[in-house]
């Protein structure tokens, strides 16, 4: 079988074909250069909505997707326009983005970095998405953000609360509207001091992964600065479902506040256990025992049911904000109205942040007059805006983090319905949650420069 004859003609022919084959790609490469990845055509532009549709945060993902669909509808001139009418920047007029109709593709992150990156890559490589947005965990956000930086598209983060997203893992092509662990700590600490006093002893239970660490650190340092003492901080495995053995030692530890640095199913379970152990009725050091949950979400509150009553936490946004705290938070009602009319219930904070991110991207492209990621980055950096539900907001150029007021909420004692589970205690003004870009909790990492790809 291994018999072969080399003839001069044969070698020449093969050589010519091989040469042409090698030269062809170089030739093809030359003509498709537009200066950046996935430059959209003249009639439409594709955005990639990468949200968890299966796995532990599927509910949040579904709500994010609803908000994205609503944002696309509004950008294309459908519906009542939502926040477009309240947004301080008025360049968006309902004709899509730069005259191109907005189309979108969806993908499932499964709340796994690998799956999320696979899904994002398919959006970029197959569907020609010019911007990727979404996600409901920091691990996924950081992973997809790095991918977008490499590929040369813009990433508008969805729900991600860890300091790292705009701290040590920040990237020039990535932007976060959602607040972070540090802001939670800074917003909660004064309220905790006012409500429970400044001589409290705290016991932390922390989910044993990245977000847990940054949240614990943020809450610890903010509360300790106001005179609190941290008795103990215990890490709990992420897969833990029964926290009894972690809760039991709390009462005898000398602590009088329990801080649960947990999210999702962890938080529902640990809070339920803590309440079942009677911590809410207990007395310690002559004071009423209290429980604190740094990061609240409506969907978690629903899961924890009546156990959430009276427990303090922080949120990025709440749908009752404008009604209760006035016109500073304009945009909230406009959004809640169009979301409610379309889907029949009020939006969660995840829906709010993703809707706003889509609008902010569209606005930045329009103001820049180009889809080029570097132009978009320039338009978003240092951008000050208002009327998107959170009051006056700044997209800081140093780390691409949004700075805005943080909502401190408490679980309602007698909720009227399943969408009205929390009451707004206070809105911490943006000055109190602003930090230096070189703050130790955000140290390390570099933004780098914007990458237009191609």
């Amino acid at each position: 079988m291994s018999k072969s004859n080399f003839s001069r003609r044969g070698v020449l022919k093969t050589g010519a074909i091989a040469g042409a084959g090698l030269a062809l790609p170089t030739y093809l490469r030359a003509d498709s250069h537009t200066g950046f990845t996935n430059a959209p055509g003249a009639s439409e532009v594709v955005l990639g909505f990468n949200v968890p549709q299966t796995g532990p945060y599927a509910d949040e993902g579904a709500d994010e997707l609803r908000a994205y669909e609503l944002a696309v509808e509004h950008l294309n001139g459908g519906g009542d326009g939502g926040m477009l009418s309240t947004f301080s920047s008025k360049v968006l007029d309902g004709t899509g983005i730069l005259g191109r109709e907005v189309k979108y593709v969806t993908g499932d992150t499964q709340t796994k970095s690998d799956a999320a990156r696979a899904s994002a890559r398919s959006m970029i490589e197959k569907d020609g998405a010019i911007m990727i947005t979404g996600g409901s965990s920091s691990g996924v956000a950081v992973a997809v953000q790095a991918l977008c930086q490499e590929a040369g598209v813009i990433f508008m983060a969805g729900l991600t609360h860890s300091n790292d997203t705009t701290g040590k893992d920040k990237r020039a092509n990535g932007f976060r509207h959602f607040f972070n662990s540090y802001m939670s700590g800074a917003a909660l600490a004064p309220v905790l001091a006012a409500q429970y006093g400044t001589d409290r002893k705290a016991y932390h239970l922390t989910a044993d992964y990245n977000w847990g660490y940054t949240t614990e650190e943020a809450v610890r340092s903010s509360t300790e600065a106001l005179g609190w003492e941290t008795v103990n901080a215990v890490k709990t495995p992420l897969t833990q479902t029964d926290f009894s053995s972690y809760i039991a030692p709390v009462l005898n530890s000398g602590a009088d506040v329990l801080v649960l640095n947990h999210y999702g199913g962890n938080m529902v379970n640990s809070l339920t256990n803590a309440v079942q152990f009677g911590l809410r009725q207990a007395q310690a050091n002559g004071k009423q025992f209290e429980i604190v949950v740094p990061l609240y979400s409506e969907l978690m509150a629903r899961g924890a049911g009546e156990n959430i009553a009276g427990i303090l936490g922080s949120q990025n946004w709440d749908w009752k904000l404008e009604n209760e705290k006035g016109a500073r938070y304009s945009g909230t009602n406009a959004f809640v109205k169009s979301f409610g009319e379309k889907y029949g219930f009020p939006p969660s904070q995840a829906a709010h942040t993703t809707y706003v991110q889509t609008l902010l991207y569209a606005d930045a492209v329009t103001r820049a007059g180009s889809f080029n990621p570097c132009a978009v980055v320039e338009a978003l950096e240092g951008f000050e805006f208002d009327g998107l539900g959170s009051g006056p907001t700044l997209y800081r150029a140093d780390d691409h983090q949004c700075f805005k007021d943080v909502v401190v909420v408490r679980g309602k004692e007698n909720p009227e319905n399943e969408f009205d589970l929390v009451e707004i205690v206070e809105v911490t003004p943006v000055d109190q949650v602003t930090y230096d870009p070189e703050h130790p909790q955000f140290a390390g990492g570099a933004l780098g420069t914007c990458n237009p790809g191609a």
Binding site: T106, G139, D169, N210, T449
Partner: protein, 399 residues
């Protein structure tokens, strides 16, 4: 040729042909058409096809030949990825040292785990490997965060040393993995009429590895060593009675298949320089078992087919959302359109697991030999009609 029998050589040629022309074969529909949704010829998915193909081929050397069902193979994949990314961080962005190191580290890791786990067989072996893999996952996810990056995964950073290469590019970005300057993510678009084909460097590197891995697997299957492994599968007790110590053989098979997994992990990191702990989770280990069984355990080509099928479902079916369905069935009258969409919707988009589950069930019930058996049945049926009952029942397994 190449020390292979004619039939095996033909199979190798088929694999080479398939991998070589995959960008064309996988994009049968013109770009922009309604059916373009089903095109799978984009770099990321093609890379995944061949990488998981390698992973499944390696797994099959252990499971298909010796019958030892490892439920923790993803651990080696993860270890391979982590070592590759560390090489990118410390040494340079060249993929070659990264891939070599990932194979070596995964080999050492599997030697340790294999040495302990292979003291038991059957279900106990499976549980031991599962326990080790879950342990590795838990370690990577939290305890070893400084080494593995924990939840957010191990990533490249601008301030990594990269002693043999540039720490950052001239424009201030992290360099991308490359093979002596040939960037893994570089692609060439070829437009022929309405069709568009993407030829990707990274894909072809992975494809070469797949062909090599496949060739090595054929050699192992046909060698005396492979025969010994099959003997272990058919009756290990009898082998012990003949005075033969089977442990070295099973351990060798375990390490080889661990190295295959390490190669797959290293390639994965080379295509996309990130290593996450989820890669080691038990669901990932279960996935490779599914791939092998779906394609046909113990056959040569089966695991590759199974890997392709599962990755296709995961990436293509999961992207069909309600809007796409409405586009497809828009020609139907209003009520009927909604009805059809309602019927189909649970099986696509986030329901892709359901479709895959049904397919898996059907395969296991009706084709216990996997997709390969299905292919054989079809071939046999074709041959029968062609030769007109001249030679009934003469179909031989054609792995």
């Amino acid at each position: 040729m190449l020390g292979l029998e004619k039939k095996d050589f033909r199979l190798l040629l088929v694999v080479i042909g398939l991998t070589l022309f995959a960008p064309i074969i996988l994009n049968p529909f013109p770009a922009g058409s309604e059916m373009a949704q089903f095109n799978a010829g984009y770099p990321d998915l093609m890379q995944r096809f061949v990488i998981f193909g390698i992973f499944a081929i390696g797994f099959n050397i252990l499971f298909g030949l010796t019958g030892y069902l490892s439920f923790g193979h993803a651990a080696f994949l993860g270890v391979g990825s982590y070592s590759a990314v560390w090489m990118f961080k410390l040494l340079s962005m060249n993929v070659l040292p990264a891939i070599i190191l990932s194979v070596i580290i995964a080999g050492l890791f599997s030697l340790v785990i294999g040495y302990i786990s292979l003291r038991r067989s059957g279900i106990y072996f499976s549980i031991l490997t599962l326990a080790f893999a879950q342990m590795s996952f838990a370690l990577a996810y939290s305890v070893l965060t400084p080494i593995t990056g924990g939840e957010t995964g191990l990533q490249l950073a601008l301030d990594d040393p990269r002693i043999l290469g540039a720490a950052q590019t001239a424009s201030g970005n992290i360099p991308v993995p490359a093979l002596f300057g040939l960037e893994m993510r570089a692609s060439y678009e070829l437009n022929i009429g309405a069709w568009s084909f993407t030829f990707n460097t990274g894909y072809y590197l992975a494809a070469v590895m797949l062909v090599l891995a496949f060739y090595l697997a054929i050699r192992i299957f046909r060698s005396p060593f492979g025969l010994m492994l099959r003997a272990i599968k058919s009756n290990q007790t009898r082998m012990s009675y003949t005075g033969l110590n089977s442990r070295p053989y099973t351990l060798a098979a375990f390490v080889i298949s661990g190295m295959y997994a390490g190669l797959a992990g290293g390639l994965m990191a080379s295509m996309d320089p990130l290593a996450g702990a989820e890669r080691m989770q038990w669901t990932a280990s279960g996935e490779v078992v599914l791939m092998t069984i779906l394609g046909g355990a113990g056959t040569l080509i089966g695991p590759v087919l199974g890997a392709g099928m599962i990755k296709y479902f995961e990436n293509i079916f999961s992207k069909i959302n309600g809007q796409v369905l409405h586009d497809w069935f828009g020609f139907l009258p209003g009520g009927l359109e909604d009805f059809v969409v309602t019927i189909i919707y649970p099986f696509v988009g986030k329901g892709w697991h359901l479709t895959l589950g049904i397919v898996f069930m059907l395969v296991v019930i009706y084709l216990p030999g996997g997709l390969v058996q299905g292919g054989q049945k079809i071939l046999a049926a074709l041959r029968r009609t062609k030769t007109d009952d001249a030679n009934p029942g003469a179909s031989k397994p054609a792995e």
